[in-house]
Amino acid sequence: MTADKKDVWQGTLALMALKTLEMLGPLHGYGIARRIEQTSGDLLAVNYGTLYPALLKLEQEGYISSEWGVSDNNRRAKYYKLTRAGRKQLEREARDWVQTTAILARFLESSG
């Protein structure tokens, strides 16, 4: 856990969490965090202080639902699951992101 890792900012954290849930199905908070870190090739560090409030916000907005379950190691954990609204939201957000990054990339190329 070194200092040069980037913190994930809020908006993208929600998107990453949604994507993770889409890929892996129902998952607990710790799993989501680890998966994001792994996918980023350990370039990102998930701040748990923001992860749980972000998950709560997604749940309040109806994009995910939660349920207590039992983990692989027989541990009680809260599992988050993507809802239909969440799936749509993910599509929309992903599309927006792709577009934004494309524009930004083009902009950086042309001015670079």
């Binding site: 856990m1 607990h28 908070g29 799993g31 748990y48 109806g62 954990a77």
Partner: protein, 883 residues
């Protein structure tokens, strides 16, 4: 879409305010399982158990911070702290039920009173009349001595209507409602308003059923049609929609109902109207037959035209019309264009403002009281606030907490105040004279309730802010007596302002009570004891000619003479002290052998036709000459009796008896046979107009005699007389209604408005005085409490009770005097403003202000005395051990 999710999230967060413990537990459990999984992963990665746990904890960061952010997201933080403050505030109030009760009741009195009066004066002061585009509706016409409100003569109106430019539409109606009878089974007497067919469209009103009058229905000899008011439609026709197109019998003639008016419809004159009937305006016929038909005229301005512009645009037409006015009167005739709202409310506006001002003053005193209470409590709670500040509460947070508590008081006071207002409005409308309150306008509607809510929030904010802005002093933390700040000038200033405000109220009340007293003792010029009055009005369709009317009354007079126990009986076509009276212009009175009066119109002179016993029955003294005799009623005799004021004006000290005079150019010459004492004839408050009397003849075809007042002087009970009169009238014509009242009741009716004002003002002033007394008592009592120890020390060192009294009351007296001075000044200004509402009182009557000051002074003394006495009896031993 975004909106829906946001809303959904807010609902979830609102839900998050409940079941906190369970959610907190769940979060803790989730964090714990997260931590455990991390540790297991670390173990699997080959760390030692201690290292695995340590790393996981580091990575996790502050669990409490996570929980804190999580909680903020879960609920709504500001709402949570608000709820917390509310809970705390309620608990504080429950702990201090006495304080809470006094504060809430004080506020409820203020808010309840204000709201009830607001709902009564709202329509007059703050709202447009209930028509679309009411801001463009105007009343216009000429103002002349014969009629103080603008009017138009019908022939002129027709010309103006054809040539005017500033108005989009223009309409007219006959002033006053004409009586009309619904002559079907269960005949009833109704009020019909004669209006031009353009009346409703100009006002922007649509009938709810049927349709408005057409142009053709306003032409001469058109079939008779009518629009029915909503009230009549419901009451008489059971709300049956098929009324439209049905024929009803009105004054004995078939009349077609063409529509029903909306429930909210009001006449622009605020008069009564059960039915609208089209008026016919035929210029030629009008000039020929009835050139002095008076119309009330209303118009709708074109967009962006002001009344001043309209007035100047009408000037040419007005100048043209002036040529029909006799030259000597011309400079007394003016053109007037004013908003409908002004037309409706000018006469009652000052009265309404006075009531509203009075009740606002009560509210102010109430607020000052509560502020003073809160200040005292804030002084007691300085320690608590200092602790909170020391524990990290920000200044804003403390202000918020204090404000929440005072707003809580405000809302509670407002809620009770609403209930009080509801009861008060019912009370006011039941005791209010008809002309003071329009019942359909005075209801506790949504506007009034919002006003109450606004007021209570404002009050809560206003009196809460003062103590809230006080920063707790750090030394309060020491637990030492740090309450010295409460002795500051703020509470004294509050008391001074209370005294000033209630003094103004008292002065106004004294003024009105004095006016009422003057009114009650003002000589009427007649003896109202044992007088019974029957008013008989004949329907024109049954008695179309004056001859038939006179015949009816002669017959009735003869029959009534048979009633035993009546000491005198008189007939008259009008009756003092108020009500319509025939009138003529002073300049039209011509004395034989003298030049006519040439300086303008000279104002109005009233006249009545009376039977010989009139003066005797009313006990109006004859100052000179004689009263009429039976012989005077015979044809060929034309005597006249002048009132004292008219005789003085016409003959200026000369003996008028024997002079001949006539009024109206064609009238017969009449010989002055007597001068009668002046009688109030213009209401109780106004100066009496000069008047004269002519004999009530058996036959006189010129004037109509539709209405007669039958005056009976009798020691018999009013009920007995009423029954007899009704029986005699019914034996002549069963359809004639006979309202009977005593002269005392008729006079009493005129006293209603002044009495209503005085009662209301007295009520408000009493509340204000009691509240300010409570305020003074509170302040002095608090001072004494606070300084008990100091007083004890002083007494132990030899201070006399007198010195202690001076210590306690010293500052109080200074502030009271300041308040009283301000109050006297305010009272003086207020009574000047209200001068037009009171009767026979010179502008700055010292009696009223003096009485007010004296009463206020006694109250202050009483309120100070109790706590001051306690101070003088402080036992030094007890006081020194105090605390």
């Amino acid at each position: 879409m975004m909106k829906v999710t946001t809303l959904r999230a807010w609902f979830a967060r609102l839900g998050g305010l409940f079941g906190k413990e369970r959610r907190d537990r769940e979060l803790a459990e989730e964090m714990e399982s997260h931590l455990q999984m991390h540790i297991e992963d670390n173990l699997r990665a080959g760390m030692s158990p201690e290292e695995a746990r340590r790393q996981a904890l580091i990575r996790m960061g502050g669990v409490e911070q996570v929980k804190e952010t999580y909680r903020d997201r879960r609920g709504i933080p500001w709402l949570e702290s608000l709820l917390q403050d509310l809970r705390f505030g309620l608990r504080m109030l429950r702990k201090n039920p006495g304080f809470a009760a006094v504060a809430v009741i004080t506020l409820a009195l203020g808010i309840g009173g204000t709201t009830s009066v607001f709902s009564i004066v709202d329509r007059t002061l703050f709202r447009e009349p209930p028509y679309p585009n009411a801001d463009r509706l105007v009343s216009f016409g000429v103002v002349a001595p014969i009629e103080p409100r603008e009017f138009m003569l019908a022939p002129e109106y027709v010309v103006w209507r054809a040539h005017q430019t500033p108005f989009e539409a223009m309409t007219s109606m006959m002033p006053g409602g004409a009586g009309c009878d619904l002559t079907e089974q269960n005949a009833v007497h109704l009020t019909c308003a004669l209006v031009e067919p353009t009346f409703l469209p100009t006002l922007g009103v649509q009938p709810i059923l049927g349709r408005n009058f057409t142009h053709e229905q306003g032409l001469p000899h058109a079939p008779r049609v009518a629009l029915v008011s909503y009230g009549l439609w419901r009451a008489r026709f059971g709300g049956d929609p098929s009324i439209v197109g049905r024929s009803i019998s009105l004054d004995g003639q078939p009349t077609l109902v063409v529509g029903v008016l909306p429930e909210t419809f009001e006449m622009p004159t605020l008069g009564q109207a059960d039915l609208l009937i089209p008026e016919t305006l035929d210029e030629g016929a009008l000039r020929r037959d009835n050139p002095i038909t008076i119309l009330r005229t209303f118009a709708k301005l074109k967009p962006n035209v002001t009344t001043a512009q309209a007035s100047s645009a009408l000037q040419p037409l007005f100048q043209d019309s002036l040529q029909y006015v006799p030259a000597q009167f011309r400079n007394e005739v003016r053109l007037s264009v004013r908003s409908l709202r002004d037309y409706q409310t000018r006469d009652v506006r000052l009265r309404s403002w006075m009531l509203f001002g009075a009740v606002l003053a009560v509210l102010l005193v109430a607020c000052a009281n509560v502020a003073s209470l809160l200040l005292a409590r804030a002084a007691n709670r300085q320690g608590e606030m200092a602790v909170r500040a020391a524990l990290g509460a920000s200044g804003a947070r403390l202000v918020r907490q204090t404000l929440t508590e005072s707003l809580l008081l405000g809302v509670m006071g407002g809620a009770i105040g609403c209930w009080l207002a509801y009861e008060l409005v019912r009370l006011f409308t039941s005791i209010a004279p008809g002309s003071a309150v329009h019942p359909q306008q005075a209801a506790l509607n949504l506007r009034a309730v919002s006003f109450a809510a606004g007021t209570s929030l404002f009050c809560g904010f206003f009196f809460g802010l003062v103590p809230a802005l006080r920063r707790p002093a750090p030394q309060s933390l020491t637990g030492q007596d740090a309450r010295t700040t409460s002795r500051g000038p703020l509470r004294h200033a509050l008391v001074a302002s209370q005294i000033a405000v209630s003094l103004v109220l008292l002065a106004c009340t004294a003024l009105f009570l004095q006016s009422l007293w003057n009114l009650q003792r003002a000589p009427l010029g007649l003896d109202a004891e044992n007088l019974e009055i029957a008013q008989i009005t004949l329907a024109p369709y049954r008695y179309p000619q004056a001859a038939r009317q006179l015949e009816f009354f002669s017959e009735l007079e003869m029959r009534l003479r048979q009633i035993p126990g009546v000491s005198s009986l008189a007939l008259s076509d009008s009756l003092p002290p108020s009500g319509p009276m025939r009138a003529t212009i002073y300049a039209r009175i011509e004395i034989a052998g003298r030049a006519p009066f040439a300086a303008g119109t000279g104002g109005m002179v009233g006249w009545r036709a009376v039977t010989p016993e009139y003066f005797f029955a009313l006990r109006i003294p004859m100052l000179r000459g004689r009263a009429f005799t039976e012989d005077d009623r015979a044809p060929g005799h034309d005597p006249i009796i002048l009132s004292d004021s008219l005789a003085r004006r016409l003959f200026a000290g000369e003996n008028p008896l024997g002079h001949s005079l006539r009024f109206g150019l064609q009238g017969p010459w009449r010989i002055v046979v007597g001068v009668a004492a002046n009688v109030k004839n213009n209401g109780l408050e106004a100066q009496a107009d000069p008047e004269f009397y002519i004999p009530w003849k058996q036959d006189e075809a010129e004037t109509s005699y539709r209405t007669a007042y039958i005056v009976l002087r009798t020691p018999l009970s009013p009920e007995t007389i009423a029954t007899w009169v009704r029986t005699e009238v019914a034996s002549l014509d069963t359809t004639v209604p006979v309202p009977v009242a005593t002269m005392g009741q008729r006079v009493g009716k005129l006293m209603q408005v002044p009495r209503f004002n005085a009662v209301l003002l007295s009520l408000f002033a009493a509340v204000a005085v009691v509240l300010s007394a409570i305020g003074i008592y509170g302040v002095v009592g608090f001072l004494v409490n606070e300084r008990t120890r100091e007083i004890g020390i002083r007494m132990a060192l030899g201070a006399t009770p007198r010195a202690v009294l001076a210590l306690v009351l010293g500052s109080m007296i200074a502030w009271t005097t300041a308040g009283a001075l301000a109050g006297v000044l305010g009272g003086w200004f207020a009574s000047r403003l209200l001068r037009s509402l009171v009767f026979q009182i010179r502008a700055h009557d010292l009696w009223a202000i003096g009485a007010a000051v004296a009463l206020q002074f006694v109250t202050v003394l009483l309120a100070c005395w109790i706590p001051a006495r306690r101070a003088m009896r402080v036992d030094p031993m007890v006081a020194l051990r105090y605390e």
